[in-house]
């Protein structure tokens, strides 16, 4: 579903990604872990071209998105993204946050978009907040709205960029629950996170990145319990 070949990314002289190759299969949940500065967020952001790619190619459902002629707006409608800082639109109500893109991009009718939005709000347990504004929500509620907003476009793939890192500890669970539910329903997901419990429980495959390389990837049980590289071992010993 996603194929990354020889991906390289530099910010000026600073090479952040050095030859990344990875594959995400349909309905798979891939979790990327690693120390800060390892390039895991940059790698994720390249997958919907929020960062330009310096070298290499990324294929999403067979379409090369790094090609100059690729219709990036169309590709992005198939790839939902959830950010660390939520990035809800503060001037729009919760309902409007969710319906904006389906109405303007998918050209749905307002009624159709609102029905979909209310379904999704029920799914993330926030139906009663539909007419509130983002400022009146807690962090956990904001992130659940952000997930609903991304799902409203009916994407085939969901990317999560440290979705729980900006949350108070007691709100992490409610966001992870929504993500678990989503994984159970068969959504293809790529998740950058520091939540090792989530990686172990939900991940089909865990990728450990360090200094711009994929050091090791494996099913969670093996990667967490029997890491084969020194760097993976020392990282895991510090956080587990």
């Amino acid at each position: 579903m996603i194929t990354v070949n020889n991906l390289k990314k530099s910010f000026g002289d600073n090479e952040v990604l050095k030859d990344i190759n990875l594959q995400v299969n349909p309905q798979e949940v891939v979790v990327i872990i690693g120390p800060s500065g390892s390039g895991k967020s940059t790698c994720l952001r390249c997958m919907n071209l929020l960062e330009s790619v310096t070298e290499g190619e990324i294929l999403i459902e067979g379409v090369n998105i790094t090609d100059k002629n690729a219709n990036i707006n169309e590709i992005r409608t198939e790839v939902g993204m959830v950010f660390q800082q939520f990035n809800l639109f503060p001037h729009k109500s919760v309902l409007e946050n969710i319906t904006l893109a389906p109405i303007k991009v998918r050209k749905w009718s307002r009624q159709q978009a609102e029905e979909k939005a209310l379904d999704l709000l029920e799914k993330v347990n926030l139906l009663e907040k539909a007419n509130e504004y983002p400022n009146s929500l807690s962090g956990g509620q904001k992130q659940r709205v952000a997930i609903a907003r991304a799902l409203a476009m009916e994407p085939k793939i969901m990317l999560f960029d440290e979705p729980t890192s900006a949350l108070d500890p007691e709100m992490v669970g409610e966001v992870l629950d929504v993500m678990k539910q989503l994984a159970k329903e068969g959504m293809t997901m790529v998740v950058v996170t520091h939540e090792m419990g989530f990686a172990r429980e939900v991940g089909d495959r865990v990728i450990f990145m360090d200094e711009g390389y994929i050091v090791e990837e494996n099913v969670p049980e093996k990667l967490f319990d029997f890491p084969s590289h020194e760097r993976t071992k020392s990282f895991l010993s510090k956080i587990l």
Partner: protein, 246 residues
């Protein structure tokens, strides 16, 4: 008690007497010329409002040019802003009235002066307004743009539905400053004989050799316009803030 009352009424009588007789206030001239001052007020308002509307539209266009990632597109807009902010408005008015307008309008009528004034003020305020737009747009968190783009919205949709509505609120106070400056600067149009209020004050001043009456009068008119504008903008700003805290 009666003594104090008499004392004050005597002082008032003396002041009235001084104003009416010794200062020789020419109320009669003001009354005679009142219709022309009113006409001048309409010209002042017309020139200012036209320049505000044209300047706002042109300024937005210049701001987008100024924000272009390509230096070839960006540079002309940078030069435009540099020129119109770096040279006196009065000089710009003369260049347009004496240099540009004769190419399109013949003669030396009022129309030519008024149109020249509107063009000069629009071009000038567009440069300042463009910088206000730019600051407002750039003050919006990059994450907002990323969120919009990641949902499949193109650059224009993201700008229109997400960035501009949020930045306009922050632009209102500096816009208010610029509008008030513009109303006052419209008085420079009197230098090319556009019949706005300063033009009529000077006309009365040179014809009757009276100074205080016309200039105090037009000062009050300017104050009335700028205070109304301030009140209006404060109202709009309050409305936007209320909207944001719903």
């Amino acid at each position: 008690m009666q003594g104090i009352k008499d004392f004050f009424s005597n002082i008032w009588a003396a002041i009235y007497d001084w104003i009416l007789n010794d200062l020789e206030i020419r109320i009669d001239v003001i009354i005679d010329y009142f219709p022309l001052f009113m006409k001048g007020t309409l010209y002042t308002l017309g020139i200012s409002i036209s320049a505000i509307v044209i300047g706002c539209i042109l300024g937005l266009f210049i701001a987008f040019g100024r924000l272009s990632p390509y230096s070839i597109i960006r540079l002309p807009f940078v030069w435009y802003i540099t020129f119109f902010r770096g040279t006196p408005l009065l000089v710009q008015i003369f260049i347009i009235y004496l240099g540009v307008a004769p190419l399109f309008i013949s003669g030396a009528g009022t129309t030519k002066a008024v149109i020249s004034a509107i063009i000069a003020l629009s071009l000038n305020s567009a440069a300042y307004l463009a910088e206000i737009y730019r600051a407002g747009i750039q003050s919006i968190d990059k994450g907002q743009i990323e969120a919009g783009r990641s949902l499949g919205m193109n650059k224009v949709q993201t700008m229109w539905y997400i960035v501009l509505p949020q930045s306009i609120k922050r632009m209102i106070p500096p816009f208010g400053n610029e509008f008030i400056t513009l109303v006052k600067d419209s008085s420079l149009a009197s230098a090319i004989a556009a019949p706005e209020i300063l033009y009529w004050a000077r006309a009365v001043n040179t014809r009757f050799f009276i100074t205080w009456e016309p200039f105090i009068l037009i000062s009050l008119i300017y104050l009335f316009i700028t205070l109304s504008l301030t009140y209006l903008l404060n109202y709009i700003e309050r409305r936007w803030n209320i909207d944001d805290n719903r």
